[in-house]
Symmetry: C2
Subunit: 526 residues, 2 copies
């Protein structure tokens, strides 16, 4: 452990060593001090990023793919040291961390394969028509090109997969953008290990100095400086609504506004339709007790709102769910701040008008731990109180009882933007409630049928994002291969000579990628 | 002429008739009064738009294609009445208006064909793998879905092609979004004729009431109310930096921030490289005199900045250009405000340190007309004065003389975001200046070789937009078929039954569109 900030291939020991990470399970500060980045460190990292962009943006997709694969290899090479650091700093169990490491490597390899496939650049060629009347048509070719240096804010709840070399970093590097990571203060050692791995991979694969930097520091001040820096061209963030909105507003107020892709969580409503609920009352309750408490409820897609129609089955569902929650294990949360917020936000929700606690697990709470709970409220009370749509990050869920289908309609219409909305229903149910399903589609990035929202598949069809306030920009995803599109913009080349065109747009199509040529999809040359 | 506001299929005569358009060529107010929309009119239009979205977002691509084609037919049916109204209200000549009508109809038909082609929705299917270890993989399918009601601010400089039924309206309607147009006060009669045509087309093709509305009023107040209305989900605008930024900031400050796609113009730098300039000195000067004065310089892509290296050829180029400008025809501008701004902004530019007027056409200026002018400044003075990067909308261009290649490098590095940057050079030139070309690419949406920036081809490879301040969002275009992507967002469907999927994602692929299925591009079924 060196405790220094990483400025490209160099380490800076300029800062004062004041930062330490915390072991939430033991409730104690960990050994090892990390230096907070100085103004010169920040300036040096951003200057290197800008210079690196000149050459990095011109690297071939194959070269960038090799870089990403090398990062995955170097992460695996860190072996148990990484696994133990991440476990200590997050209180997550070994199986989860090993799984998350696999996901992190999988994401890097997914983007490598996306680069080789090449279709993501949306190469579009309209060839010249010199004899067109009244005016000749020029040759115009368009593709996505990288946007510039990206600042990545790492997330607390995925110390690997949404952190230093997580989805944001992987997709930004894939697109051709240098990355400057703001290390999460909860995972300083994990960050150092992974940052060093990225730097080794960059050197081994011949990437420019400055393609990757990592800075630590007091969150708000460091974050503000990075977002406001003129060399920064985009920001990625996963975390709270308050945190995301603070960055978003800062970025908009710059002389040159820049995009902030903030995924700010949601309450992920689940609608239990009557026939399905009747047929599988207890099974549904057990399945959802598992989803609510999975990973101590610390997922962006945790089901925080369960909605059903007034009925004997719903009462029975609540009873079984209450029982399951009461007997669920208590566990340590990611850090002290999150544990305290969970207690506070749960209490706030429970004291709202009409909200009744129906179950809380009664095991002894570990230090920095969470007691899972579920509560119930009438749709009438829910509809009159926007506070009940605030996310309670952790194992807590509110059950909303609707009088009838038309009140369910009202509840859906009044929902704010969500990452996911789920319908549990058999075919008959889904036909009866088709109007409500279409209405729900307008509020969400992902519409799930007969599953749980926890579990976000990393693939090309995944949309992890949604209408505000789930995310700042519903047109992009932070999970899956399309995450790369956040960091690219279309550039048209008019009458360009072949040697000045990127390979993706050359006549001979050297990479054999799929392109639109004069309106026809083809992987042939022109 | 009825002078009423259009609320879907109904006309409202609630407002007070206080608005009149102007004939800039005759410098007189035109006959005919138009009513300013009342608060109730605005509320009625926005409510209808929200309700219409429910059904309009579920229409088939074929139905929407028929609607767009019907709009084109109805516009043509307006015949000479439309052509004369647009000519009187804009001072543009008949040939231009007839051409622009053709372009407007062409755009509508382009989007109709895009809808039938279907690839624009980016349909992506990952089929289930129930036996995957450690966890089964669900079926996930994703496509672009419409974002909701769009408010369109019409542009002054294209009374048809960027106005009531222009590119913004056509692309928003194509995506499945209802449109509410804020009529341009310069083109109130043109707007009424076209709005009535759109409504007729909507009724004939069975579209819902509220799919289209048009409101007139004092610009700022009406615009503010529309942008802040909770039913508005996106805004499109073409015009000045000040106007665009005002809307952008308003939209960001809403409880639910929404995207504003503002194309705010640019100075479209043109770099004349030495060998080409030497070989074609006078021809280049003549070509560019034509581009600077085309349409009285009233194009977003007007070349406002010409850059060359200190040389005898550059002096000769300036001399010929000066001669051409001096003898160019003076002409009426689009409206009084634009004519006054042109005079003022030109004077401001001419009084900056080191700027020397080298030519101004000396014919008598018509009322509301423009005298074309070109001026010259050293790169040293240019680099020290950011004011010289402000757009002067109209026939004015500033020639920047660089000492050498490295100063040219500095000038390019210091450019703000542009719609276009053009290089005029032979093969040798382009090889010598390759670094500067790559540097320029970072500053622009479109990179042009050996052509003029005026003339924006409407096609799938066009990027009309660029880094800020050319546009508020460099990742989207306002011209060409990709303009539709501004008004759509990805939605994932997980484990959805076939009957609840949009046709684009159904197994049998009823429309035969190209899709990604398990990573393979195909137009077959699953």
């Amino acid at each position: 452990m060196h405790g220094n900030n990483r400025i490209g291939f160099e380490l800076s020991d300029k800062g004062t060593a004041t930062l330490q990470s915390f072991n939430p399970a033991k409730a104690e500060t960990r050994a090892g001090k990390f230096k907070g980045a100085t103004s010169e460190d920040i300036e040096a990292a951003m200057t290197k990023a800008k210079i690196a962009f000149d050459s990095y943006s011109q690297t071939s997709p194959e070269k960038r793919a090799q870089f990403l694969e090398a990062i995955a290899d170097e992460i695996l090479n860190l072996g148990d040291e990484l696994v133990h650091a991440a476990m200590e700093e997050s209180a997550l169990p070994e199986g989860r961390i090993v799984g998350e490491r696999g996901r992190t490597m999988g994401q890097l390899k997914l983007f490598a394969s996306l680069l080789r496939d090449g279709v993501w650049v949306e190469a579009t060629i309209d060839t010249a028509q010199p004899s067109r009347e009244p005016l000749p048509k020029p040759d115009i070719r368009k593709m996505l090109r990288p946007i510039g240096p990206v600042v990545v804010f790492t997330a607390s709840n995925f110390p690997l997969a949404f952190s230093t070399a997580g989805g944001d970093t992987a997709s930004a590097l894939a697109s051709g953008c240098p990355v400057v990571v703001k290390a999460h203060n909860s995972h300083l050692q994990t960050n150092e290990l992974v940052s060093d791995a990225i730097a080794r991979a960059a050197e081994k694969t011949g990437m420019p100095d400055g393609v990757y930097s990592s800075l630590a520091g007091e969150g708000f001040e460091l974050g503000t400086t990075l977002v406001k820096h003129p060399n920064t061209k985009a920001v990625a963030f996963t975390g709270s609504l308050d945190g995301g909105m603070a960055l978003y507003k800062m970025a908009i107020e710059r002389d040159e506004p820049i995009p902030v892709f903030a995924e700010m969580g949601s309450i992920n409503p689940v609608i239990f339709l009557p026939e399905k609920l009747k047929a599988e009352t207890n099974d549904l309750a057990k399945t959802y007790a598992g989803s609510i408490t999975l990973g101590v409820g610390q997922f962006c897609t945790n089901p925080g709102l369960l909605i059903g129609l007034e009925s004997r089955e719903l009462d029975q569902f609540c009873e079984t769910l209450a029982h399951e929650i009461t007997t669920s294990a208590a566990a340590t949360m990611l850090n002290e701040g999150i544990a305290n917020s969970f207690s506070k936000n749960k209490e706030t929700s429970l004291t709202q008008n009409g909200v009744k606690l129906i179950s809380s697990n009664n095991v002894e709470t570990p230090r920095n731990g969470a007691n899972a709970a579920v509560a119930r409220v009438s749709a009438t009370d829910f509809l009159s109180n926007p506070n009940l749509q605030h996310e309670v990050f952790g194992p807590y869920s509110l059950i909303v009882t609707c009088r009838d289908q038309s009140q369910l309609d009202e509840v859906i219409t009044q929902l704010s933007g969500q990452l996911t909305i789920t319908f549990m229903g058999n075919e008959n149910d889904l036909k009866t409630f088709e109007k409500q399903i279409h209405s729900a589609e307008k509020k969400t990035g992902r519409l799930i049928y007969n599953g749980v929202p926890t579990g976000v598949e990393v693939c090309s069809s995944m949309q992890h994002g949604g209408p505000f306030p789930a995310a700042t920009d519903s047109r992009f995803t932070s999970v899956g291969s399309d995450a790369i599109k956040r960091f690219a913009r279309p550039v048209s080349y008019q009458n360009a000579p072949q040697f000045l065109l990127p390979d993706e747009l050359k006549n001979e199509n050297p990479n054999g990628i799929w392109r639109s040529v004069d309106g026809i999809w083809t992987n042939n040359g022109v």
